[in-house]
Amino acid sequence: SQQGEEDPQALSIQEGENATMNCSYKTSINNLQWYRQNSGRGLVHLILIRSNEREKHSGRLRVTLDTSKKSSSLLITASRAADTASYFCATWPGGTSGSRLTFGEGTQLTVNP
């Protein structure tokens, strides 16, 4: 079963606007990761945030993590047409359970020029 659920499923914005995507998960985690996928291609890792971290930045990306609410958000500032892609959150379980990253269903972001 999927651990993470992204919201919204699809998002359409204008170039220059900010895009916010949310991810909720069900069980305790070691870390949460965000990936990007261009149509028909493999996924590219964007950012990893550990369970003891609350916020991380990478360029125009800002990720927050609220373990009490079991949720995370990805903010892309000053979006560009090239940011058009699907974005996935993925969780690595806490404790010693498993050796696998579990992905959500993704948010399809469209940035209109």
Partner: protein, 112 residues
């Protein structure tokens, strides 16, 4: 630097035919290796993962199998493909448990 190679990029196979998809990693040793499948417009489903040569864990019962004959080689196989095996197959590796994954470019498999 590390690279991951996955081939072929596209594959069209008849129902009942065998399958072999290969993935190799360069520039690292003893990687954790993964096979995922993605249905159109959906998230990724983990099929198999391996933490070492000959060590394969299966996540989903199906007619697929995986093997790791060498440290940096991961193979996905089937003896007889089903229509439901169609999808986008992705190989990935990580340096160790819990860290980020590096994905191959994927194989689009169509079973007709």
């Amino acid at each position: 630097s590390q690279t991951i190679h996955q081939w072929p990029a596209t594959l069209v196979q008849p129902v009942g035919s065998p399958l072999s998809l290969e993935c190799t990693v360069e520039g690292t040793s003893n990687p954790n290796l993964y096979w995922y499948r993605q249905a159109a417009g959906r998230g990724l489903q983990l099929l198999f993962y391996s933490v070492g040569i000959g060590q394969i864990s299966s996540e989903v019962p199906q007619n697929l199998s995986a093997s790791r004959p060498q440290d940096r080689q991961f193979i996905l196989s089937s003896k007889k493909l089903l229509l439901s095996d169609s999808g986008f197959y992705l190989c990935a590796w990580s340096a160790w448990k819990g860290e980020k994954l590096f994905f191959g470019s994927g194989t689009q498999l169509s079973v007709l």
